[in-house]
C-alpha cells in the first residue's frame, strides 16, 4: 500500500503557506496588507512565505500604485489551485483512512 503522506504537498507543510492558499482560494485577489492582517504576521515573515509560493508558481504577484504607494496584490494560479485541491484531498483521505 502507498504511504498516504506522500500525497501531501511539502510546500503546504507550513501553516502560514496553507493559510495564504486558503485565503486566496476564496478571494479573486488580495493585497499584502490584507493578508498580513488576516494571518497576523510580520512583514518579513509573510514575505518569505509568499516568495516560496511564488517560486512554486502557485501564485502571481501584481504591483500597482495607489497614489504614490505601491500596492501589491496576489492571485492564485491554475497550478496553485490544483495543488491546493490535491493537498486537501490527500488530507481528507488520510483522516478517513486512519
Amino acid at each position: 500500500m502507498k504511504n498516504p503522506i506522500e500525497a501531501l504537498n511539502k510546500i503546504f507543510d507550513s501553516r502560514i503557506r496553507l493559510g495564504v492558499m486558503s485565503v486566496l482560494i476564496v478571494n479573486d485577489s488580495i493585497s499584502f496588507n490584507e493578508l498580513k492582517q488576516l494571518l497576523e504576521l510580520t512583514d518579513g515573515n509573510l514575505a518569505s512565505h509568499l516568495n516560496t509560493l511564488e517560486q512554486a508558481q502557485y501564485l502571481k504577484v501584481q504591483k500597482s500604485f495607489i497614489g504614490k504607494k505601491t500596492n501589491t496584490t496576489y492571485i492564485l494560479t491554475e497550478l496553485g489551485r490544483h495543488a491546493f485541491k490535491a493537498h486537501l484531498d490527500a488530507l481528507e483521505k488520510m483522516i478517513k483512512g486512519i
Binding site: 496553507l18 493559510g19 486558503s22 488576516l38 486537501l88 488530507l91 483522516i95 486512519i98
Partner: protein, 209 residues
C-alpha cells in the same frame, strides 16, 4: 494518532481563514431584532396616520399629498433609526470578536446588498412619481427587492440570510395578490421576520461564543 489531530487542526484553520476572509461575520442578530421592532413601531404609526385620514380627522384642507408626506417621513425615520441601531450593534460585535469592522468583507456585503436595493428604491420612486394610483404596489415591491438583496448578499455573510431572503420574496409575492393589505405584509416582512431571524442568529452565533 497525533498526526491525525494535527491534520484536523490544519483543516479547521483552512476553514476559518476561508470564512474570515470572504464573509462578514460581525453581523449582529440583535441588530435584526432592533430593526424589527423599529419597523413594527413605524407600521403602527403609519396605520394610525392612515386611519385618521380615512376618518376625516385630518384638518381642513389637508389632501392625500399630506398623508403621503407624513407616511414618507415615518418611512425615512424608521430606516434611519434601524440603520443607526444596526450599525452600532454590529460595531460592538466586531469589537467583541476582535475583527476589523471595515474590510473587504464589509465592502463586498454592502455592495451586493446595494445592487438590488438601489434598483428597488428607484423602481419604487418611479411608482410614486410617475405612476399615480399605484401605491398598492409599494409594499410588495419593497419586500421582493429586499428579499433579492438578501439572497444576493448571503454569499458574503452568514448563509442563514439566504433563507430570510426567500421568505421576504414569498411574502412580497403574496402581498402582490392581496393589494390593500400592504402595510400588514410590510409589518410581517420587516418587523416580525426580522425579530424572528435576529433572535435565531443571536442564539446560534452569539450566545456562548
Amino acid at each position: 494518532m497525533n498526526k491525525q489531530e494535527e491534520q484536523l487542526n490544519a483543516l479547521n484553520d483552512i476553514k476559518k481563514l476561508m470564512d474570515r476572509s470572504s464573509r462578514f461575520i460581525s453581523l449582529s442578530g440583535l441588530s435584526g431584532v432592533f430593526a424589527g421592532f423599529t419597523a413594527l413601531v413605524g407600521a403602527y404609526l403609519a396605520q394610525r396616520e392612515i386611519a385618521s385620514y380615512m376618518n376625516g380627522t385630518y384638518t381642513y384642507g389637508s389632501s392625500i399629498e399630506d398623508l403621503e408626506f407624513n407616511l414618507l417621513k415615518i418611512g425615512f425615520g424608521v430606516l434611519l433609526v434601524a440603520l443607526i441601531g444596526g450599525l452600532l450593534l454590529t460595531l460592538r460585535q466586531s469589537r467583541k470578536k476582535n475583527l476589523p469592522f471595515w474590510d473587504r468583507t464589509t465592502k463586498n456585503l454592502l455592495l451586493n446588498l446595494a445592487i438590488p436595493l438601489v434598483s428597488g428604491g428607484l423602481f419604487i420612486i418611479a411608482l410614486l412619481l410617475v405612476h399615480p394610483g399605484t401605491y398598492g404596489l409599494i409594499a410588495p415591491s419593497c419586500l421582493v427587492f429586499y428579499g433579492l438583496a438578501l439572497i444576493n448578499a448571503s454569499k458574503y455573510t452568514y448563509t442563514d440570510i439566504r433563507f430570510l431572503g426567500f421568505c421576504e420574496i414569498i411574502l412580497g409575492l403574496i402581498a402582490m395578490f392581496n393589494i390593500g393589505y400592504g402595510l400588514y405584509f410590510w409589518a410581517i416582512g420587516f418587523g416580525v421576520l426580522h425579530i424572528f431571524y435576529g433572535m435565531l442568529m443571536y442564539f446560534k452565533y452569539e450566545r456562548g461564543n
